[in-house]
């Protein structure tokens, strides 16, 4: 297929062909990543800017490594959160990056829609590394990659996503990606964190974890932001963990060899027990490796082909 995208902002507007092409490319990238010499000349002379408005060591490192393996020069700009209101506006920052002739910008920002906002201004490509509660396309791609690596074609299979989906860009991007590939998706959590309007994503909603586990091929736990308790969204970690924490005992209810995913970082013994997190079922470290492969694939697809700079 012909890749024509300048940016990767959300799974929502991607075709199945595009998703398949990314996954195919990532497979090649993973093979390279497993080599003793992890360095390619492919993107020699291309510059990739990591623009991170939210602290996220793991995602930023994953993108940096992906760019470096492909031979690109990667620069990270960590912007303190406070500067959103005080300092230079994203608009002005975008103009500055434009002037620096970057080829690709990776953005992580606390505002939903900020990645598209940036992409609309820049000639350079943009990859959304998480915008507010809206989208985290690379996470969803690495998740489906990991699922298919383990379980084969996911069409017709069942994925249960547990936790704070209301505030989760991971859950949203996974909902789009999985459903496009024919997966049956259920969001489960307390009604305050899985409110009725989440049906807008086309998924099934549930509040009783035990009742939706039977038949689940994949169970994905989301990170619970502990400050949600202060906003009154759930009464205590104790009760949350009793109702929605993944334990070995509870996971028997799937009645199959399900795999467990978590986007990290984990709150151990809140949304996932130690035992589950460290079990063979949990592919959490594999997700991290695959994350680099997916990001390599996207960086390659966005700037590996025809050059943005007209000679």
């Amino acid at each position: 297929m012909k890749w024509q995208r300048k940016d990767v902002l959300a799974i929502e507007d991607m075709s199945v062909d595009e998703i398949r092409h990314i996954l195919h490319t990532a497979k090649v990238m993973k093979e390279i990543l497993m080599r003793p010499i992890k360095k390619l000349p492919t993107l020699k002379g291309k510059s990739v800017v990591n623009l991170f408005y939210e602290a996220s060591t793991r995602t930023r490192t994953s993108f940096e490594m992906a760019g470096k393996v492909l031979g690109a020069d990667t620069t990270s700009i960590a912007v303190a959160q406070s500067s959103v209101s005080k300092g230079e506006s994203l608009y002005d920052t975008a103009k500055t990056i434009q002037a620096m002739r970057a080829d690709l910008v990776i953005i992580r920002h606390s505002s939903s829609g900020s990645a598209k906002f940036l992409a609309d201004i820049l000639d350079a490509g943009v990859i959304n590394a998480g915008d507010g509660q809206h989208a985290h396309p690379t996470q969803a791609l690495l998740d489906i990659f990991t699922m298919e690596e383990q379980l084969g074609d996911m069409n017709g299979k069942k994925v249960v996503i547990v936790g704070d989906v209301l505030h989760s860009r991971v859950a949203r991007s996974n909902a789009w990606c999985l459903q496009k590939l024919g997966v049956d998706v259920t969001f489960v959590g307390p009604p305050t964190l899985v409110p009725f309007e989440m049906e807008g994503l086309g998924v099934k909603l549930a509040h009783d974890l035990d009742s939706v586990l039977p038949g689940a091929d994949v169970v994905m736990a989301l990170r619970l932001q502990l400050e949600r308790q202060k906003s009154g969204l759930f009464p205590s970690l104790r009760e949350y963990s009793q109702l929605y924490g993944l334990t070995t005992e509870r996971l028997k209810k799937t009645e199959k060899q399900s795999i467990i995913l978590h986007p990290g970082p984990m709150n151990r013994n809140v949304e996932i027990s130690d035992e589950v997190a460290d079990s063979a079922q949990a592919l959490i470290e594999r997700q991290v490796t695959n994350g680099v492969a997916i990001r390599m694939a996207l960086i390659y697809l966005l700037i590996g082909g025809s050059s943005n700079v007209v000679a």
Binding site: S89, L90, Y91, S112, G113, K116, F117, H134, E197, L201
Partner: protein
Amino acid sequence: MWWLKDVWVIDPSQTLSAPRHVLIKGGQVLEMFASMTEEEVLTIAQGESVETINGEGKFLFPGLIDVHTHLREPGQEEKEDILSGSRAAVRGGFTTILAMANTKPVIDNRALIEFVRMQGERAGYAHVLPIGTVTKGMQGGELVEMADMKAGGAAAFSDDGKNIQNAEVMRLALEYAKITGLPIISHCEDKDLAGEGQMRRGMVSARMGLKGIPASAESVIVARDLLLAEETGGKLHLAHISTTESVDLIRQAKARGVNITAEVNPHHLIFCDEEMGITDTALKVNPPLGSQKDRESLIEGLRDGTLDMIATDHAPHTMAEKSRPFAEAPFGIASLETALSAIWQHLVVPGRLSFERVIEAWSVSPAKRFGLPGGSLKPGAIADMVLFDPDFSEVIDSTQLVSKARNTPFLGKNLQGFPVMVWVEGQLVQKNRTVLGK
């Protein structure tokens, strides 16, 4: 003297919608006839020169009165000021505008009321009438000197932009304002329910991952204020109604005979949340755009009189402020220059609303409720009038807008049906979309 020949006059104050010849003299409507010859006009003119306008194919109606505008002066003149705002008003067909009190400082005493009124007079375009706050510093606590402010020219009282959260303060305001006869305008929004919300809570906000404002954030306060108005007999006006539930509550209260009026904004009649994109900050507005169902309820409410008025809630902002990610951009749409055309094109032309009802809701009803001049073309009435050409089409171009603000969802879009001549007190202030100099 002006002679408007063969123009279709819409004047709901005299249940008139028919072709007429209209004579304007000395800042007033002189007479209106079904037919007229030049000799007859010259006889009436008694030697005064006569400007003749062929009004065929055009509408003439009383100038629009907008009870809800933000002119930003004093304090935020980078967004708008009284001169630019009142020029935008006449360009859009408004001859009287009420200026909201949430400026910097807020308009909470007579000196500031008089300042706004004087600035409006100095500008000399639309009549600019100040709205005072309800509470000192708009803090939601102590009441302002309402009687003194009325003496200085206040047209109403409102803490618009902020809701009066304390129900007892609202009750007292409705009671005390009786000595002025002026309405209290309520900005119905429960602060806690609205929270940090950016758009209406629903499937669209869920998809976009933007914090939602539930419909109840508005209707809870609508219910409260209707009950308080009923209990006190105070004069209440509800600003920018946007939900089905609010419309139902108002309809029920009116059936009980409660002394209330309510307004709806053009954008809530035209857009809904499903049409929004994640970077469409031009459509970020408070109260937020509702669902399709809400939009239908609002149109129905306006048709059946549950909603008395249309008001723009003209909320100018700078491009820099609106050129931000959605959650960081301010709420508001600058709409004085486009609102009437948008309503014409989106609701009148498709037959959803009659033009007569639009003029009634945007001119006659506000004049009546707020006790303002205008709102009628009866002989002897002030000659605040609009000549509207339904065939005039224009691409909304930032270089043509006279407001300082560009935050309109119609930027770059074509609209058809515009005011092509506007008179304030018989003085022509806008001709062929150009605001005339002074």
